[in-house]
């Protein structure tokens, strides 16, 4: 990450510090469906200028606005005064931009092509070094302009921080208003929401396929818990686990070849593997307790799961071929809802301590446990595909809301949706 050395800023340093302090307080950005509140930002943020893309007004999307909002929401960047007419062919006046406090500058354009598509271009400059860092061009249909803005944000984010961005990924979650439930898919910023399933009965446990094309979920529409698999684009779906009793907790293996589910068909909730079509069923846990909430390791060789075989729910792991399970959580007497980071090194989960349910992380190598949440009614953590963020559901001011947090808990955003309870978030994969 490019951290501004103090000596290089001179008179603008005071402005930079003032800006950093201002963002340290609560910063609210109003959006159509979600209200984003950023609090607890770290002491250093990278100041970036993002100017209005030439002709973006004519495209119908504020491309630069989406990029700026992505950067602000990440907590990693701070937007400086970005007024002015620039595009990717401009030659920046570096001293002027340093005067505005910028370390980096993004400018671009969105030109309508003869076939009706848009030619979106951007360029990134390192203002401190006075260097052109390159850019990209995209030819996209109108419907993909939002996605393209997120792709610009991802590319700049990766260039400046070294980490892959997740602005162009999607999340799925469940909403509830009275007795209406929806399974909804939005961009990672909560915008562009589309409904995958409408129901008057509960929907729980959505799970993305690794290619991002399908969602598995549990629906109670038939009067009990049944696992469905649905193609996101077409809406085609089938019930893949509808055995006697309850069918739930679907999760895909990293190579997409297998699903793990929890079935009570043998009289007790146990974990089974199956093909994505629902066939080739095999049971991999053999306890007389509750075994549920399976999740595959990134290498596909093990499954982490929740079991109360020891008397209270704890997280265990077992090889995908079955066999002896090994306990993984040892602090506290109630640990559930495991989620594994893409590099396999960190597990997020929910710990109950007294009446408080909190998202924690466990370093799977060293064993250290860390609290990342400042709320007390947390559920269902899920990692972003770059491993840098966790999204989870919690309760605040009487509403179910979604939160994202960095792994160190220092940068959190709260996604509120007025009038609607939101829960069960699951972060989609790269590669849309």
């Amino acid at each position: 990450m490019v951290i501004p050395p103090e000596t290089q800023h001179g008179p603008s340093r005071r402005r930079w510090l003032a800006g950093a302090l201002a963002v340290g307080a609560l910063h609210t950005v109003a959006r159509a469906q979600f209200r984003v509140e950023i609090s607890g930002v770290g002491a250093t943020q990278l100041p970036v200028g993002v100017t209005k893309f030439r002709d973006e007004d004519k495209s119908g999307q504020s491309i630069s606005g989406i990029v700026r909002a992505d950067f602000e929401r990440s907590g990693v960047f701070r937007i400086v005064d970005s007024n002015g007419d620039f595009d990717e062919t401009s030659r920046p006046n570096y001293p002027e931009w340093r005067g505005r406090g910028a370390d980096a500058l993004v400018a671009g354009s969105a030109a309508r092509m003869a076939d009706g598509r848009f030619d979106v271009r951007y360029k990134l400059w390192d203002v401190v070094k006075g260097v052109d860092l390159g850019g990209q061009a995209f030819a996209v249909v109108t419907a993909d302009l939002r996605l393209t803005a997120h792709r610009v944000a991802d590319a700049v984010y990766e260039k400046l921080t070294g980490d892959k961005g997740v602005f162009s990924t999607r999340i799925a979650y469940v909403t509830r208003v009275a007795n209406r439930y929806t399974l909804r898919i939005t961009d990672a910023d909560g915008e562009g929401g589309q409904v995958a399933l409408n129901s008057t009965q509960p929907i729980i446990s959505p799970a993305w396929s690794p290619d991002g094309k399908s969602l598995a979920y549990v629906s109670f529409e038939s009067g009990k818990a049944v696992v469905w698999s649905q193609d996101v684009l077409s809406g085609d779906r089938r019930a893949i686990a509808n055995f006697r009793g309850s069918n739930s907790a679907p999760t895909w293996s990293p190579d997409g070849s297998t699903l793990a589910v929890t079935l009570s068909r043998d009289g007790i909730s146990q974990i089974y593997l199956m093909d994505p079509s629902g066939g080739n069923l095999r049971r991999i846990t053999q306890s007389s307790a509750i075994d549920t909430e399976p999740v595959f390791t990134p290498d596909g060789k093990q499954i982490y799961f929740v079991s109360d075989r020891g008397g209270s729910p704890q997280v265990y792991r077992v090889g995908t071929g079955g066999g002896n399970a090994e306990r993984v959580t040892f602090s506290g007497n109630y640990n559930i809802s495991p989620a594994l980071s893409p590099d396999g090194r960190t597990m997020a989960y929910v710990n109950r301590n007294g009446a408080e349910f909190k998202v924690m992380t466990l370093d799977l190598g060293g064993g250290s446990v860390r609290t990342v949440s400042d709320t007390t009614d947390d559920e269902s953590p899920s990692f972003a595909p770059n491993g840098k963020l966790i999204i989870y559901a919690t309760r605040a001011q009487g509403r179910d809301v979604l939160m994202t947090t960095t792994l160190d808990g220092r940068i959190r955003t709260r996604l509120l949706s007025s009038g609607v309870d939101v829960r069960e978030p699951i972060w989609g994969p790269f590669g849309r």
Binding site: F220, A225, G245, S248, S264, G267, I290, V306, S337, F357
Partner: protein, 181 residues
């Protein structure tokens, strides 16, 4: 209603000609005089002697038209303690009643729906609710129903009976509901 009926049965057994089903021992002395009809007179009441047409007559109560699985007749909800799926004694008569009804009508089917209160994760609570439903289903089978007559399912914490965030509400949500199919 169930508790009142039980205590009425107890009272009647000691003093009256009885009609309270299986709680009667065959060698209990049944007084011949002072025979009065069962004042509870509930739909599930078995035969009771009735005064009117001499001392030898018997009035038949036709229980075959009464549906013992109808809601409200036997009660249909079993409640549980926190983090527990143990069946409490007070619900034993309810479960025995359903088991008898199922055992005597082999084509009847039931579903047992398990629930939890709102605290805790959704999937773990789905499994806890399932365990409650299975406990009730197993009891029904032990007491005479066939395995194929009952399906145990769970709604976890998704369908509370009572909205509220205190123990009074939670206690009403930790339950298994018995429903005819």
């Amino acid at each position: 209603m169930n508790a009142i009926r039980t205590s009425l049965c107890v009272a009647l057994v000691s003093a009256w000609l009885v009609g309270c089903g299986s709680s009667v021992k065959l060698d209990d002395a049944a007084p011949v005089v002072d025979a009065k009809p069962n004042p509870a007179g509930g739909a599930g009441a078995a035969g009771a002697n009735r005064a009117g047409t001499g001392q030898s007559s018997v009035t038949t109560v036709d229980a075959s038209k009464i549906d013992p699985l109808a809601a409200g007749n036997l009660g249909r909800v079993v409640y549980f303690d926190y983090d527990s799926y143990a069946l409490k004694d007070e619900f034993r008569p309810l479960i025995e009643g359903y088991a008898r009804a199922l055992s005597s009508a082999k084509t009847k089917k039931m579903v047992v729906e398990g629930h939890t209160d709102e605290r805790g994760g959704r999937e773990y609570n789905l499994a806890l609710g399932q365990r409650r439903a299975e406990a009730v289903a197993k009891s029904l089978v032990l007491l005479g129903a066939s395995d194929g007559q009952i399906e145990a399912v769970s709604f976890g914490k998704e369908r509370p009976a009572v909205d509220g965030h205190d123990e009074a509400a939670w206690a009403k949500n930790r339950r298994a509901e018995l429903k005819e199919r």
